[in-house]
């Protein structure tokens, strides 16, 4: 029966190829959307791995998550170093990593933190951060860059970089008076960390507390046109004052109200006046709610402690409408592909009545002819799924560099996962079920129906 099906399909190969392509495009779209969705979700979830709580100025938990973990948006007015010490000194707290934000390097977030960041932050199910080259920063003028930044700009250990104020890609306020030397490059993680420039808290504040210097930017020629334009003007003392004043009103809480006097050094530990957030690891995770309550009820300043996973769930619930709409569209396209196949099979039925009658005249039972139609549909759908999967892989391969650069999302290019198998099986079953409609029509045809035509 399989041989007969293949020969019959080959006899109608043009229409069959068109149908296979139609199903393939549907399958590629459905699988692509699903992969994109799961890659974005796992990338987000992996970015917050290892962190039990994030403490930030009081605000919306999704906004805090986006700002502190993904470097998107802001966290509000900042947390005082006193509050940081109060949180860090709690017995249930195993470790803390303070973070300051607000600067960018050629559009990528700059995070001020401590070297503890590299010990405690995890990715992809608990893997520690590894250095592809170099080491963690140990001086205020050293930086560590994520894998994506290093790859995009061709940075290596020893390269000097300059950061700019603000989170946007186009910088109007470049801190070229305080360049950083890259001390280490992180191995790829597939998370937001790949897109971070990490500097010490001292280095972060140094940018805004440093004395005026003649701006020097060794990379001016390589910068984007907008950035290059910003580099063209030297910062003056007035510029700096104006710039720091701006920080007081925006997300750059790490330097809120920062002046030379506000950047203090206590022994070997730099203590800024304010930071943006604190990553927390607990001794015992069962105390998470009591710590959260302590932070919420902290009287010296309004703070929030968010559970990254809970905030992620809220984020997914916000994005679920768009996600569902995307899935619905992809499913509609898949349905259109299958309907196209049913139309192809049904349209050919009249032309093939004689073919089926001949098969029955030589002994094929109605059930055999029924199974011939279903077999053909199975082959067409399976071929469509196979080609669609290859199309999706090719599209993923080609789109990955753009997706990583724009969204930090990398689509897996490899064998199908469980989710892919489920989707492909569902499409195959839908195709087979849909083919029973024309098959039933053929089943009901009488043998005498088709035996009176000439070839």
């Amino acid at each position: 029966m399989l041989t007969l099906s293949i020969k019959s399909l080959w006899n109608r190969r043009f229409v069959v190829v068109m149908t296979v392509l139609s199903i393939a495009l549907s399958v590629a779209l459905v699988l692509g959307v699903e992969r994109l969705r799961s890659a974005a979700k796992s990338g987000f979830a992996n970015s917050a791995a290892g962190i039990d709580l994030i403490v930030a100025p009081r605000g919306d938990q999704v906004q805090i998550l986006m700002a502190t973990v993904f470097g998107m948006g802001s966290t509000g007015p900042g947390i005082s170093w006193t509050s940081y010490k109060a949180v860090a000194s709690m017995p249930a707290v195993a470790w803390t990593v303070p973070v300051s934000m607000g600067d960018n390097h050629r559009g990528f977030p700059v995070i001020g933190t401590t070297a503890d960041y590299f010990d405690h932050i995890r990715h992809s199910g608990g893997k520690p951060l590894d250095f592809a080259r170099g080491r963690a920063f140990s001086a205020a003028d050293e930086a560590v860059v994520g894998a994506e930044i290093a790859a995009k700009f061709g940075y290596d250990v020893g390269t000097t970089i300059v950061n700019a104020h603000g989170a946007g890609e186009v910088a109007f306020d470049v801190h070229d008076e305080a360049p950083f030397i890259i001390a280490g490059i992180l191995a790829p993680t597939g998370t937001a960390v790949d897109r971070f420039v990490l500097v010490s808290l001292g280095g972060f504040d140094r940018v805004h507390g440093a004395p005026d210097t003649v701006p020097t930017d060794p990379f001016a020629a390589a910068l984007d046109a907008g950035q290059a334009a910003a580099h063209g003007a030297a910062e003056t003392t007035d510029d700096h004052k104006q710039h720091d004043d701006q920080h007081g009103n925006d997300n750059h809480a790490g330097e809120v109200g920062i002046s030379d006097a506000k950047v203090r050094q206590h022994g070997n530990v730099h203590e800024p006046d304010k930071i943006n957030a604190i990553y927390l690891g607990l001794v015992d995770r069962s105390t998470i709610l009591s710590i959260q309550r302590f932070v919420t009820e902290y009287s010296d300043e309004p703070l929030t402690a968010i559970l990254p996973n809970v905030a992620l769930l809220q984020l997914w619930s916000i994005t679920s409408t768009a996600e569902n709409a995307l899935r619905l569209m992809a499913s509609a396209v898949a349905l259109a592909g299958i309907v196209g196949m049913v139309v192809m099979l049904s349209a050919s039925l009249d032309a093939r009545r004689r073919e089926f009658a001949i098969l029955r005249s030589v002994g094929a039972t109605p059930a055999r002819v029924f199974s011939l139609i279903v077999m053909e549909a199975t082959l067409v759908t399976a071929a469509g799924i196979f080609v669609g999967y290859l199309l999706m892989l090719a599209a993923s391969f080609m789109a990955n560099s753009a997706l990583v650069a724009q969204f930090g999302v990398r689509l897996a290019v490899g064998l199908p996962g469980l989710g892919d198998w489920k989707l492909m099986s569902a499409i195959l079953v839908a195709g087979i079920l849909a083919s029973t409609l024309p098959a039933i029509r053929v089943y009901r045809m009488t043998l005498a129906d088709g035996l009176s035509f000439r070839i």
């Binding site: 020969k7 073919e355 029955r360 005249s361 030589v362 002994g363 039972t365 043998l447 005498a448």
Partner: protein
């Protein structure tokens, strides 16, 4: 009913939308290995009779028995299986699957009938090739050519080989020579009769052409056999 291969008794058959019967035959017997020629003009019910014997059309129970089976009592799929096992049918229009090769068309009954497959020998493809060769289609290029690319005469031979493969007990031939000239017609009948004889099959051949009568053991006039045909 006796031991005849085909035994027809009181067969009255009407099409669903007709008041007048197409077939009204009180009795017809075809013996094992017999070569019977049924002659009659168009509309005398020849094709309908063959369709009734082959179970292509619905007929009342206990009216047509072939190889001991009551065709009218068999359900659709059973009739299909019975036909594949016991009957080779050469249609007037040949009814080949156009996109299959000559060889694949001949082998079709062996696909659906294990009985025919067993009786076609250890290698049914060899048997099919031999049949085609004996019927004048020995060229390998022709054997592997798609049926739709063949001439009428070639299609007719393929249809005959398909009916003969697996040595069914009964060959029904519905005016398969109508599109051929006299010389080709006679040559084809000779070949067909010879193959039926060597396979031990009975041959029921219907045609309006009197010139073919000499090739058969017995000749029946359809208008005399079919009272419905006489009324027409």
């Amino acid at each position: 009913m006796d031991k005849a291969l085909v035994n027809i008794t009181s067969l009255v058959q009407k099409w669903p939308d007709s008041r007048v019967p197409t077939l009204d035959i009180s009795e017809l017997r075809v013996g094992h290995g017999e070569r019977l020629f049924l002659r009659g003009p168009s509309g005398s019910g020849k094709s309908s009779l063959l369709s009734a014997i082959a179970g292509v059309i619905e007929i009342p129970p206990r009216t047509v028995e072939v190889a001991g089976s009551d065709i009218g009592s068999l359900r659709g799929a059973e009739r299909d299986r019975f036909r594949a096992d016991h009957i080779g049918f050469i249609f007037q229009m040949f009814n080949l699957v156009p996109w299959l090769s000559a060889l694949e068309n001949v082998l079709l009954p062996c696909r659906f009938s294990s009985r025919r497959r067993q009786r076609a020998g250890a290698d049914p493809a060899l048997t099919a090739t031999r049949l085609l060769r004996e019927l004048g289609l020995g060229d390998p290029a022709l054997i592997s050519a798609a049926a739709m690319t063949m001439s009428i005469g070639q299609q007719q031979r393929v249809a005959a080989a398909r009916a003969l493969i697996g040595a069914p007990e009964l060959i029904l031939a519905d005016e398969p020579t109508s599109a051929l000239d006299e010389e080709a017609r006679s040559s084809f009948i000779d070949l067909l009769v010879k193959e039926c004889t060597s396979g031990g099959a009975a041959l029921l051949f219907v045609s309006h052409d009197r010139s073919l009568e000499d090739h058969f053991d017995r000749v029946l006039e359809m208008p005399e056999l079919n009272r419905a045909g006489r009324r027409c």
